[in-house]
Symmetry: C2
Subunit: 130 residues, 2 copies
């Protein structure tokens, strides 16, 4: 049972963000103590961490909501889950490829810097039009 600050720290979010997510129905309402303080469980921690990291990876809140629901939706038919899953998978693959290109340029830059010369800018090239 986490109080709100503990949850915030554990999930890497701000207290205000947690309350905001609750307001828009993204996080289930937590239990309350006698004095009306929010009290969170491991389930809340898992969900909040997921959302924060998905957001950090450039997914929208709607996508962050959709991703876990995708696996939870035993009722929806497999074909739908499959199609949406493939979609997200392509998205993820693209992001990984872009990040790897960026990582390569950053490594080069740092490497050349340590040898005393500043690299010419090829960072823009790393994320160029497909």
């Amino acid at each position: 049972m986490y109080p709100i600050v503990a949850l915030a720290e554990a999930a890497g979010a701000k207290v205000e963000t947690i309350r905001y997510y609750e307001r828009i129905g993204l996080l289930p309402e937590p239990g309350r103590t006698r004095s009306n303080y929010r009290s969170y469980s491991e389930v809340h921690l898992g969900r909040l961490s997921f959302i924060r990291r998905a957001r950090d990876l450039g997914f929208t809140l709607d996508q962050s909501r959709e991703l876990p629901e995708l696996a939870e939706s035993r009722n929806s038919d497999c074909g739908t889950v499959d199609v949406i899953g493939q979609d997200h998978l392509r998205d993820v693959e693209r992001k990984i490829a872009d990040l790897k290109a960026l990582r390569r340029e950053l490594c080069d830059l740092i490497g050349q810097c340590q040898k005393g010369a500043i690299a010419e800018c090829r960072i823009i090239g790393a994320l160029s039009p497909r």
Copy 2:
């Protein structure tokens, strides 16, 4: 020389976003035709594509501005470039790791789905607190 719609298509951005970036000084002002229409070069395309993709990867506009400047800044000393670069590198590594975990869960989900059974939800676990 691209008109604004062509640039938007090539870079995967909306026309309004391009004008917004110009307004806040993120994109250099393009040339104009006699009739006052914006006219863009390859340089604009490179820069805009970079920003759009960096944004899609969860970087802020400030970071998207900083990344290329990092490599361009021959005047700033190597130590600074090195430190900032290492910082961004760690950030990028973390994102790659998170995305790989997410990819793994999506693959499993799709795989199990194709075998006819919906997987239990481990997607949230993929981006759990560190």
